[in-house]
Point group: D3
Chain length 256, copies 6
């Protein structure tokens, strides 16, 4: 049986979705990713990762995969012609609307799987709104946690391979080998930032940035060594990690 939410008929919703079910909403983005990657990167990674996770543990954990939100809050790339983005208020409205609808099912757990680092803080904010307004237990997971929000990046990129860098490029090469062109890329690591004690990605001072603040090309990291092999390895590790996270989510309780 399909684990795609939309593949259910209306009457099936009430039959198969219940308190034990987990609703999984992948959130992608369509935004410039430098000259070597298509705008689809975050959309594809969110979607493919969610699909792989659901394939692996969907039945076991009773997970229902919602249609991937393809466009989200990418306004750090507003300078780049073609990037698509919703304003913060619009995305929040979309999430509230979805929350209100999903609350008509019997599910009690809603997981956002976010493929775009620029959404992390807003989605994190939404977790509380959706819990308060609709009673959901809400969770936010990432294919890999963005370095800007506590995740790791490679040492060679000084922990700053955050947009079109080694890992993301590799994962995308694994997923869409024909769509990556490394011929024109260079190392684009904001070295100066690494000298900072506080104001840096994942530093104790959070800061507002646009993707062309560092370099006019708009990617941040060093994709030059990216390979599909590394990508496959990372992708599989991410999927495995997410499956473990979902398993914990499945039984998570506040303990009160």
């Amino acid at each position: 049986m399909s684990r795609r939410y939309e593949d259910l008929t209306g009457p099936q919703v009430a039959e198969v979705i219940g308190p034990e079910s987990i609703l999984l909403l992948p959130v992608g983005a369509v935004e410039q990713h430098g000259p070597h990657l298509p705008m689809s990167v975050d959309h594809v990674i969110a979607h493919e990762t969610a699909t792989a996770v659901v394939e692996r543990v969907g039945d076991e954990l009773d997970v229902w995969q919602l249609p991937t939100l393809s466009v989200s809050k990418s306004n750090e790339h507003a300078w780049a012609a073609g990037t698509l983005w919703l304003r913060a208020e619009t995305l929040l409205a979309v999430l509230r609307d979805l929350g209100r609808c999903l609350a008509t099912t019997g599910a009690e757990r809603l997981v956002l799987l976010n493929g775009h680092g620029g959404n992390t803080t807003l989605l994190n904010t939404a977790l509380r709104e959706l819990r308060l307004e609709f009673g959901f237990k809400t969770f936010l997971v990432h294919p890999s946690v963005p370095p800007a929000y506590g995740g790791t990046s490679t040492e060679s990129e000084l922990g700053m391979g955050i947009h079109g860098g080694l890992h993301e490029t590799s994962v995308f090469m694994h997923l869409r080998p024909d769509q990556v062109d490394l011929s024109a890329v260079e190392r684009k690591v904001p070295e100066a930032l690494a000298q900072n004690r506080f104001v840096k990605f994942g530093g104790s001072v959070m800061f507002g940035w646009l993707s062309n603040d560092f370099d006019p090309e708009g990617y941040i990291g060093d994709p030059t060594g990216a390979t599909a092999e590394l990508g496959q390895e990372l992708f599989e590790a991410n999927v495995a990690h997410l499956c473990e996270q979902l398993a914990e989510i499945k039984t998570f309780d506040f303990g009160r």
Copy 2:
């Protein structure tokens, strides 16, 4: 070369999209469609139709297929647990946000391909907003125009096969043969409505309705005779028709 908008890199947007280009935004929906069809129907039909159209005339007419909006304004099914819908104001905000972003490309024509009849009037309203605010020439097309807005339906359904009826069910059988179950369906045609001179789908009096106003099952039409063969025929006719429409759109000018 891919004709998917998101498959472009950021820098390619400025290179390949220009005044001659047509941007095509498929709009789907995830909503109950009776016991015989999954909630994905409008999503799938909008997406597959757009894909087939772009495959056929994308290169010739310079069409760029945007990611399908999977969820839209389906509040006629708000009564049905599981249906996903955006409020009118939210969908309008999403469209304005997208319009503002797409206006950074060089394209002058934006076509909404709408798979869900419940969106027709709001999208039609948006055509003017997007024209006024961003200067686009804007168009709204349908896989098949909904009977409630001037399209035709079968005579056997008294012109009222508007939601999960013969045609839609057949087209979906063609696209997803494994996902249709006709075992429990019946004829659900609001016969009384057909007696009306004015207040009926496509009548001179427009009226507000919810999909359970007519019958608690929530589908409207007679899917009992649906076949994949009929669906294929309709789908291909629709695609051919849309290609002709796009060709006219390509050279459309106000003539001033």
Copy 3:
């Protein structure tokens, strides 16, 4: 007894308005109509038509005429100094506010009588919102259905006498004979549009347009032959037609 809603005292509302009553909201507009007609055209026609209809069948059908909304969504004329218009979101908010208030009466049927074609799609959208949020049976009628939304226009205007054309000008001459000046008008029919198979008023491709897209004068049609006699004939036919529509609305039921 007056059939104007506002002529009721507060306590009378509960006494005389009940499940059998029909609430009628005329919606006008104040917008440029070319050099031959005042900006009031849609306001006057909506108001006078509603008044004539209520005079004829108000008692019989228990109709209550609400104050005419004089200004609505006329942004296709935003280019023309003086045109008054509400943004789509504002008009929707006004309608929701009115719906919420009217739901405190016992009436179950709410009819919008729309004199301005530019409102048709938004009002049609509102029909569902008002049905869903307040439980009204909602209807949208027109003095004459605009050709852009399925109505007819004269053959001599190639079906495109949609703004200040033969019919509208004639009706207005009948209603306000002193306010029409045909001395400077010409035929302003976008002939090229008529050649189109799809993209035209009432065509299968809906399109966004502003009233100066076709001609800088901002009227669309051929008012040169307009006469008060024709106008009277049309007006009376419209009123008669609306009375028939209201009679059907009176007993309309979804049949469930």
Copy 4:
């Protein structure tokens, strides 16, 4: 020549409206006014007063009468079935929309003539918004200033004939003699309030009230002695006063 704004053609707007012109927007309301008066009272008084003023000084002072806003912010009567009201945010949006449109004319002065006391503070707030956003010199006048905002009322009503009291009832009797029924009215003066030093209408402590806070009948004042003669006298005095106010507005300058 008509002094109704909407009677102008589009092209005339630019010809006849200029820096010397005054735009006059009457603001009415449709709200319960006790058992003796129809809901139309404020609508009628605003409209008739504006009309009389423009008749008298329209040509001399170059005044253009906008269509009367029939419904406004009457939520002090939200408890009374049938009362129509816009939320504060909606009315503010309507005023901003109108201001933006009127700014396309050459006029520099915009006068709100407010017939409903419940609007006074919000319209007063809007004066600044419209000045700041659109550059208008903005003014707010009243047929008679409501006692709650500094105007006077009769001594016999202890200064509290603020809604359906002696003066308003009399003026309405003059304007619509057939629509007033004094048979059931009583003195409804909140005597206790008059004892207050601060918290009273026009007192130094402003306070929030709903029209049924004082009495379930919802009118405030003593209409028992109302006569059309008194009404005529008051109406004419009001009109004369407004004409003087407009004359001062005509030449008003900040003196900088």
Copy 5:
């Protein structure tokens, strides 16, 4: 025991705040006040006045002092770099949010103590909203009622010492003696305005103005003779007056 609302623990709220309690919200502003006064004037005066009032009658009248809103609607000073202001819609949203929260306490009376004349009309509007939506008895008081809304000002300033004039400057000198610099001030009284019969501060015609409409320096009045002694006298009179007002508010009832 502290009378600051925020000094209560969560559990204490339910214990000590009840139907007899008065909630007092001081509303300040941070806006240019000419070259002689800091931007803090309205913030300081609102806060210090509220504090003095609560010190005097807080226990007796069971008053709870809410944290002072430091920034409010100061857009008449939008031209002046540095002035902080919330849009009308934002301030209304803030007040609704606070009202909704305060309604969870047992208090029935909410008093706004407004230090900034530019807020008066909007706060007055909010009184009704908060009464209707949350059931509060609501009140608006001022350290001294602004002349533009019915209060008095000195004769020597022709009643127009409304912003940085004699009284306000004196009161501030009393409160913050080190922060006033009279060396550069002059008399800035819009004398011409005083000639007007209607259009003036407190006149029967309300008008929209920005603080630089009269003079580029942005203060209105004559602070040249300001002294801390006068300020002390005024401050103490104001506090005494407010205490009397609160005493009346304490027992205020609509009398129904």
Copy 6:
């Protein structure tokens, strides 16, 4: 000279605030903090910390302290009578309004000093909005980074002393020794959570929670051992740390 922003006169803003200046906006909260602490905790800590920082490095780094925002987004405590909170949309609107105003000064750096963990994600989101819309370099700092967003907490509390726990209680005891009552507190550490690998404060799975999800008392941590001495030590370390952060912020550049 005072380093309070509001202590500047209007004309001084342009004189003393320039590209080298840092604007510092402390953000507090008024929300339940268990039975041992007043609702003011976050308000007081944000305000006192900002004041101490500005006292130490204000002149050296040219820092201007804005008035503390006392109320913010505390809806995790919406269940607790008395807690004050702004909706996410309201707080975002307040921040946009402030950003627009502050952009009229010459400053290029805006630092939010956030005392309430529940704001962190929304403020972090706002950093980008304020950078994009107004061009500010924007930063978010904390007296101490909340454990839920990457900061540390004591081992004895298993890293979960996040609301009214050992550290916060101690710091508040230092700042307001008379306002803390430890007589009724207990250890309230959600031990079960600590077992989790992913779903926990600062874990790789972010989750939505309300403060009564763990315990009906609403505090989270173990304040039993809190002392003013520890508080002083922590406070001074925090201030010192913030001063170092500000020094880095002072010269921070994107390096492009």
